[in-house]
Amino acid sequence: MKILKLSFIFLFIFSFNSLKANNGDINSKITKNLRCLICQGQSVYDSDSEFAISIKVLVDKKLEEGFSENQIYDFFKEKYGEWILYEPELNKNTYILWLLPVLIFLIGGAIILKTFIIRIK
């Protein structure tokens, strides 16, 4: 019985810790994808500016309120524009950014393939 009680206590403590760690993980993931507007070039996660500290607090608050990761990104995008996100969405302003690497990869692949075919022949 004593062992059962102890195992319950351990289970309770560990489940609580993992819950906290999960929230921390999501917070880190989100703040790493948010750009600091004061010290540009740094993510909110890396920055210690007053602005970045406030953003970290607000991300925590939003997570506690039950906001999903995408909802939090949408919230910051609405306030500061899409530039605050390190991973911009595919739209008319960013399609070159997203499609150019694919295009270069395909063209490069085609050139290599063609060279091989010529050599084999």
Partner: protein, 172 residues
Amino acid sequence: MKNKLLPVFITTIFIIIFLFLYKGLQNSNIYTPEVKINNKIPSFSGELFYEEKIIDTSDLFKLDKIYLVNIWSSWCVPCRQEHSLLMNLKKIYNIELIGINYKDTKINAKNFLSELGDPYRKIIFDKKGINAIEWGAYGVPESFLIKDGIIIKRYVGPLNQKLLSEINQLIK
């Protein structure tokens, strides 16, 4: 013929990429968030500075009044510079000032107001700086002109006499 075309094709692609990146070098790498106006007042709860109770923004702003929301702090030097203008704004124009005290201590903020005057009808005490983010602000001072429940103008940085005249024109 095909072998001759390939180097021309590759060189053209490289030139296009080079020109594209070179043009990018001319752009400023300092980003300023676009000033969004004609937005509704953000909905959030904040702590009132004197009353020490939580209030919702929907209870703070009335549709038939004109407001200037001013984000300020006692440690902010430009806030000190614009404060006399805010005092004039309160006296002269038909406008209500709502202050957001950003990342400050109450003692310092009270000293600041007793020294320079208190132009605000209500002050939200934003100790963690999260209320300012709801407004899309990223520093102090910043001001938002509100008419009919809509943000019609945003001022990043301290107000000056010219901007005050502009506010006067806008609220007429």
